[in-house]
Symmetry: C2
Subunit: 287 residues, 2 copies
């Protein structure tokens, strides 16, 4: 299977940004699966809390229809990341998977962050669809979104529900004021925690992040320099493709889903889980 | 806190091997905490299934008493890994923590592997003490053993029970027949899955592995080339110390337990866990 990653910038408007996405999709005509970054139609608006941004969720159904059409035109499975207005005043950060013209399923971001510059708890209601893989013509996709990528629980549940691969549209970046060392540590941690999920579950993993500096118009913070580095790793966590930290790119890589079978047979982690001793995992803290 | 790692070979007998351990301990007199490798008193006998090896568990209580005495003499917290005869025919792979002359606690290996050359299910009854951190004068130690290091559940539970650091005495190695690429992938996966636990829980992590080739006397396999690479990483997974793949070594590194507080305040993963949606983790598989 050929997996395509599209890592891009925000181009000042929804129209211009989608135009760029379509151009990048044109560059990888042979991809069987294309993964887009988190909230790829717009800027990463959670840099501040402003009710005007809820407007961006209004056209969710039209957005789904548009990307469904693209997936049909390009004969591809497409993982999108959209802002969903579910009811008046009720919003989700939702990944929608389109399979060659069919809406295959959606995932509503379960773990919602909130820290300076990433005020997501203001915008997004935590997902209520659980961790359910989505069946497509290229496999059973364990699609999650960004902050979910720090949670081993989420990856494991997707694996236990039969996911063939783990997929994370993402928006994460640096603050310019941080030291070079701190930035390197953050980027490495972000990559390694995900490689850890791939290894622990013997599943390939795709993570697609945005690039470019986005100013915080509210002036609360300077802005975020999204660090790119979108990547694909195999079922032993080995890096198969890694994009740059500052360029818009569309690239593909060949992925062997059979590797999971081979790796799990030599490293049978699922066989030896001590499920009767994991109850603490369902608690906030075990004090 | 100064953390000491002792990575060593098997020296043909229990006496000679312990003698070497004591020599290596002499080399790091300033260590506050010393971690030994898995089953450090003997060869890694699980290369084949032979009841004669149960003899090695007979002196468990004497072994504990000996290492308690060492910890008192050296004024150090010592993490040992011993073969425990609990009753006739009932054995555990048990880590015992000695705190400057006091038996601080023990952990019985929970996840038991079994694959060619690592026939542990023959020797070790799965632990029944759960994942309980052990309180010592240098902190609350999340001690586990080897195969546990592949399980995000185990590391998370230790974190949720207040562990200050994660510790894994280990015995893992290569088969000479495997390709260079496969060996590199295995070693990298072993390191990264553990760095993943460090990052996901914002806890420093210590993993101590044996070195040297140990022949399988039964002739069933050639033997195992234990790959060393004992390491310490910080709460963002950053490598602080990494030993060689083939030498006996005793080294120390400074560890800042305060880092957990700082990292968790900027990356508050524990705050956002979706505990009400993790039930699947208590199942073998969620089909």
């Amino acid at each position: 299977m050929k997996v395509g990653l599209i890592q891009q910038k925000y181009h000042g408007s929804k129209k211009a940004t989608i135009q760029k996405t379509l151009e990048l999709i044109e560059k990888i005509p042979n991809a069987d699966l294309i993964v887009l970054q988190e909230l790829h139609q717009s800027e990463y608006f959670c840099k501040s809390e402003d009710i005007k941004h809820f407007e961006l969720a209004k056209d969710f159904n039209l957005d789904v229809e548009f990307w469904r059409w693209v997936s049909e035109e390009k004969k591809v499975v497409l993982v999108t990341s959209l802002f969903e207005e579910r009811a008046k005043g009720l919003y989700h950060n939702t990944a929608v998977v389109l399979d060659r013209g069919r809406v295959a399923g959606k995932y509503r971001k379960m773990h919602i962050p909130d820290d300076p510059g990433f005020y997501e708890k203001f915008y997004f209601t935590p997902g209520d669809l659980g961790f359910e893989p989505i069946d497509t013509s290229v496999g059973r996709l364990g699609v999650m979104v960004c902050w979910d990528q720090w949670y081993p629980e989420a990856a494991r549940i997707m694996a236990l529900k039969g996911a063939d691969l783990l997929i994370y549209p993402t928006a994460i970046g640096w603050f310019d004021k941080d030291s070079k060392e701190e930035k390197a540590k953050q980027l490495e941690a972000w990559i390694k925690v995900q490689q850890g999920h791939a290894i622990a579950n013997a599943l390939p993993l795709i993570s697609v992040n945005r690039v470019g500096f986005e100013k915080d118009e509210s002036g609360c913070i300077d802005g975020i320099r999204f660090w790119g580095n979108s990547f694909v790793c195999g079922a032993q966590g080995e890096m198969l493709l890694q994009l740059s930290s500052d360029k818009e790119e569309a690239k593909t890589v060949e992925l062997e889903l059979d590797q999971t079978y081979e790796v799990r047979n030599i490293w049978p982690f699922l066989r030896d889980r001590r499920v009767e001793s994991y109850e603490c995992l369902l608690k906030r803290y075990c004090d």
